[in-house]
């Protein structure tokens, strides 16, 4: 099969499963704590399905954006709505998965219509775990400023007005679609108000009627609009993964409410608590991110009544989700930072910290304006993007950095025979090995970016997004869908996982082959192919006696830096498929396991089918020098080049949190990392003994949270395998 065809097949296979991943979550599930569905308020699912079929048939000859618009409008007009008298807000309606699911089925049909479909199936077989590419519709940050300033009606009017000066049919079509979905959203608010009224929620009903007509004026209206928008966009099929810079977006509403006597601090706090609860109840497994702090346009750190209230609430609620981002930098006063780290000292670790200075530099290098940079948020877990100016799409491709190690030993193919890069001779020494590794990696990245580009070029046909795009002011100005480059910035991210495994492997080749001469390169290749069979002693030496990434040891850190520099330079220069460039991200989230499952044994002593290193951490069990050394290793990298994000993932001993200076100590620790050039960081705070006890007596630890890799979960919700993995990492750090 020709290369291009193969890539296309792989791309479609990947899109198919990415859709599955995206829609496998809560869209179909009722919110935690009960739905409160009003059965009589709309049509049953089967009737909606019929209506959707009719729409699809009627518009089959027109661009897909028309069908999508009509689906969404039909959903808003006819879906059954829910409201709970116990809640301050409404957020859920039935069958909200329908339009998104149909797009996913469309991707699937498209994929299966490809003649190369015999290659389709699980993504791991498509590329053997080397990489995968997809349309990333699950990492977005809406244009919250526009949404709150205009409301549904204003958003529709903005598009209507822009249509008057539109030049082409395509522009008019796009703007008509936006107008149609937002007019429908206004009608949805009116219908929803009636259900809320019926359920005995007069205040909620009133706010819904208000936002149907005009922009929100009160905190209650603004928060309700945020939730209605959130549900609307997710019903279209794109996940909302940042609720925006909360303390900046809502503080004026709050102040006006207090001044007018509409709310007190306590009643406003209750509203925000319910807003957080609605997001929590949505049950998104990877969580909803909300931004706080950071410098404003004058360079002054933002800290207002809402920042204070939100972290107070986060501490009181003790929930894994929503997860909060706190932006801070050199100018952030100590008291402000310590109010946030106090949450961590109390075990509320669902907070990620972002560095103003390094992210500012990163955005500048990517050509973003100073005015836009102050509006940045972290989307999803820790992917930086400008609120309202870009979708972010941080996972257009996922790259397993460990895979090319196999190809170096096997002339460009992995041990299963899957082609990774060009044919090559077996290198004789560690230096040549690293050179060849980088060549194989480069070839692998080429495949990944080409495929991601192919996916994005079909974006408008497969997944146009009139609702999401209609929120962005730039999409309206350009009269273009976000999938066609309508946003101001149109980057998409390629995340790379496993830097620890790679660095350790390069260091181990040097130690075992070059220095100690325990084995030749050819022998090492055969040993790895056989998964260390009968060579346990050598494997243990590789694990124990070779230098390891994350311990501030240049013997492992410098190879990591060379790999990092090469990957970042390569990816950051690649054009993507919708009018921007790709951006390199260094993190793995929980792909350390699926990547590891299809990666053969590696020279660092790792066995086949075991996890590769997670995020930018040391390999599990190898971070012997503890958290400070891990940060020192990471700070050797130029982290302003991680345009798609870089996270330091740290386990702090609980003794630090419990010590009398807990909050101050944690703040000092975070600040030290940021001073030396860290980009973002999140923490776990526990002792291995606590985890052991929690495994033995789960009933005693209902509230114990751990941070998995960008989101928090309750300890008891983890599988035993995951618990053991955590324990191994925690124990390595506290073994001295």
């Amino acid at each position: 099969m020709k290369r291009r065809e193969f890539l296309k097949a792989a791309a479609f296979a990947a899109m198919w499963t990415a859709g599955q991943r995206c829609f496998g979550w809560s869209l179909t599930t009722e919110p935690l704590g009960g739905a409160g569905l009003d059965e009589g308020s709309g049509l049953a699912r089967a009737e909606l399905e019929k209506m959707f079929d009719a729409i699809a048939a009627a518009h089959a000859k027109e661009p897909f954006i028309v069908t999508r618009t009509r689906w969404l409008a039909a959903l808003f007009d006819h879906v059954r709505l829910a409201a709970n008298a116990d809640d301050a807000f409404v957020h859920w309606f039935a069958d909200c998965d329908l339009p998104g699911r149909r797009c996913w089925l469309r991707l699937k049909a498209f994929s299966e219509s490809a003649p190369e479909r015999k290659l389709c199936g699980k993504w791991t077989t498509a590329t053997n775990g080397a990489w995968r590419a997809r349309l990333d519709t699950s990492h977005t940050c809406p244009d919250w400023e526009s949404i709150l300033a205009l409301g549904p009606k204003g958003l529709a009017d903005r598009a209507r007005k822009r249509r008057e000066t539109a030049k082409t049919d395509d522009e008019r079509l796009f703007l008509d679609c936006v107008t149609e979905v937002y007019d429908a959203l206004s009608r949805l608010c009116v219908r929803w108000a009636a259900v809320a009224e019926k359920r005995g929620m007069p205040a909620c009903a009133e706010s819904l009627r208000a936002i149907a007509e005009r922009p929100p004026r009160t905190l209650r209206e603004a928060l309700q609009l945020s939730l209605v928008y959130d549900r609307g966009q997710e019903a279209e099929g794109e996940c909302v993964r940042s609720q925006g810079l909360f303390d900046r977006l809502y503080v004026t509403f709050y102040r006006n409410d207090l001044a007018a006597g509409r709310e007190t601090r306590a009643s406003a706090k209750a509203l925000i608590a319910d807003y957080f609860t609605r997001l929590y109840a949505q049950g998104h497994p990877n969580g909803k991110n909300i931004g706080f702090g950071g410098y404003d346009a004058e360079g002054v750190p933002v800290w207002n009544e809402l920042t204070e209230l939100a972290f107070e609430l986060h501490d009181e609620l003790n929930r894994p989700n929503p997860k909060l981002t706190y932006r801070f930098g050199k100018k952030t006063p100590r008291e402000q930072l310590e109010k946030v780290t106090r949450c961590l000292a109390n075990g509320r670790t669902s907070i990620v910290f972002a560095n103003e200075e390094v992210l500012g530099e990163m955005f500048r290098r990517r050509g973003k304006s100073a005015e836009d940079i102050v509006q940045y948020v972290l989307v999803g877990c820790y992917e930086p993007g400008i609120q309202g100016r870009e979708i972010v799409a941080s996972m257009a491709a996922e790259v397993n950095l460990a895979k090319p190690l196999e190809a170096v030993f096997n002339s460009g193919k992995d041990f299963a025979g899957f082609p990774v890069g060009p044919a090559c001779a077996l290198p004789e020494n560690a230096e040549a090995f690293e050179r060849e590794y980088l060549r194989q990696l480069d070839a692998m990245i080429t495949s990944a970016v080409e495929t991601a580009r192919l996916c994005e070029r079909s974006w408008y046909d497969l997944n146009p997004a009139p609702f999401m795009s209609g929120g962005y002011r730039d999409c309206i100005e350009k009269a273009k869908d976000s999938s066609q480059g309508g946003c101001r910035y149109n980057q998409s991210g390629i995340m790379c996982g496993g830097i620890g495994t790679v660095a350790d492997s390069l260091a181990a080749v040097r130690a075992l082959v070059d220095e100690k001469k325990l084995v030749t390169m050819a022998e090492l290749g055969e040993i790895l192919r056989a998964d260390w069979k009968d060579r346990e002693e050598l494997r243990l030496r590789a694990v124990r006696a070779a230098p390891k990434w994350g311990n501030n040891d240049d013997r492992a850190d410098l190879p990591a830096k060379r790999v990092y520099d090469a990957v970042a330079a390569r990816i950051n220069a690649e054009p993507n498929g919708h009018g921007g460039t790709f951006q390199a991200g260094f993190w793995s989230i929980d792909l350390d396991k699926p990547f590891g499952d299809c990666t053969a044994a590696t020279p660092d002593g790792r066995k086949a089918k075991t996890p590769i290193s997670r995020n930018n951490s040391a390999t599990a069990g190898c971070g012997k020098e503890g958290p400070t050394a891990l940060l020192l290793s990471n700070a050797k990298l130029d982290l302003a080049e991680s345009a798609d994000g870089h996270i330091a993932d740290v386990i702090l001993p609980a003794s630090l949190a419990k010590a009398s200076f807990g909050a101050a100590g944690i703040a000092a620790f975070l600040r030290s990392y940021f001073e030396m050039g860290g980009q973002s960081i999140h923490l776990n705070c526990f002792d291995p003994s606590t985890l052991r006890d929690a495994m033995a007596h789960p009933e005693n630890y209902p509230d114990l949270q751990v941070r998995v890799c960008g989101w928090n979960v309750r300890w008891n919700a983890l599988s035993r395998r995951e618990q053991l993995h955590f324990l191994a990492t925690a124990e390595a750090q506290s073994s001295h």
């Binding site: 400070t628 630090l656 000092a668 030290s672």
Partner: protein
Amino acid sequence: MKTPLMLDTTRMAVHDGPGLRTTFFVKGCPLKCRWCHNPESISSKPQWARFPDKCQHREICTMDEAACPTGALKLYGKPMSIPDIVAKAREDKAFYKQSGGGVTLSGGEPLFFWEWAEELFKAFKAEGLHTCIDTSLYAPPVAVERMLPLVDMWLPDFKAENADRHKTHTGVPNGLIKDNLKLLVKAGAKLEVRMLVVPGCTDGQDAADRHRYLRSIGIRDEDVAELEYMDLARSKYAALGMPDTMPPKPR
């Protein structure tokens, strides 16, 4: 000059003085406290320890610590030069700066090797590091006098007030210790006296006596910290082949 072997180093220590610190442990101590929670630090000679419950590779064990991934086999006591120690201490300087931390020398008994400790602390000071010393003060007064200008904060232990009881529990009398405490007070040294309270052993009247004595020589209550006794080191006694002398901890 007597040079100690070193035990492991703890980075980001939070209980060995102010801020975030790197703590270095010397091997070797003239005392033998019944409750010692670091029995590997008593002898100044290298010692092998085996933790059978951690061993997962019995069949292929080469008795080489470097090849033992589970820590079942451990060699306590390795040489580490003063430049190496200083280099290690320097690594976390950024963290000391933000937190008001620094380095702490602990043990074992650092003043057992006071001439060496003096050299080491001169090197710490040349690096501009904040220094603490965790000591039983069982050392000739000249050791304390020589260390005084180099130590920013003293963390002395005060194990028992009564000389006989001190000897019973630790193997040595406490005359020198009391003299050195007075010397520190006289010199106006910054200190935090640590009092371990071992239930049924050094609690009750014993603890009260110690508080009274410390007040009588001019040490303020806020400079005294009582430490809770933990009997978590029993597996180390077994691993080292040493008789376990730790008093039981009432549950």
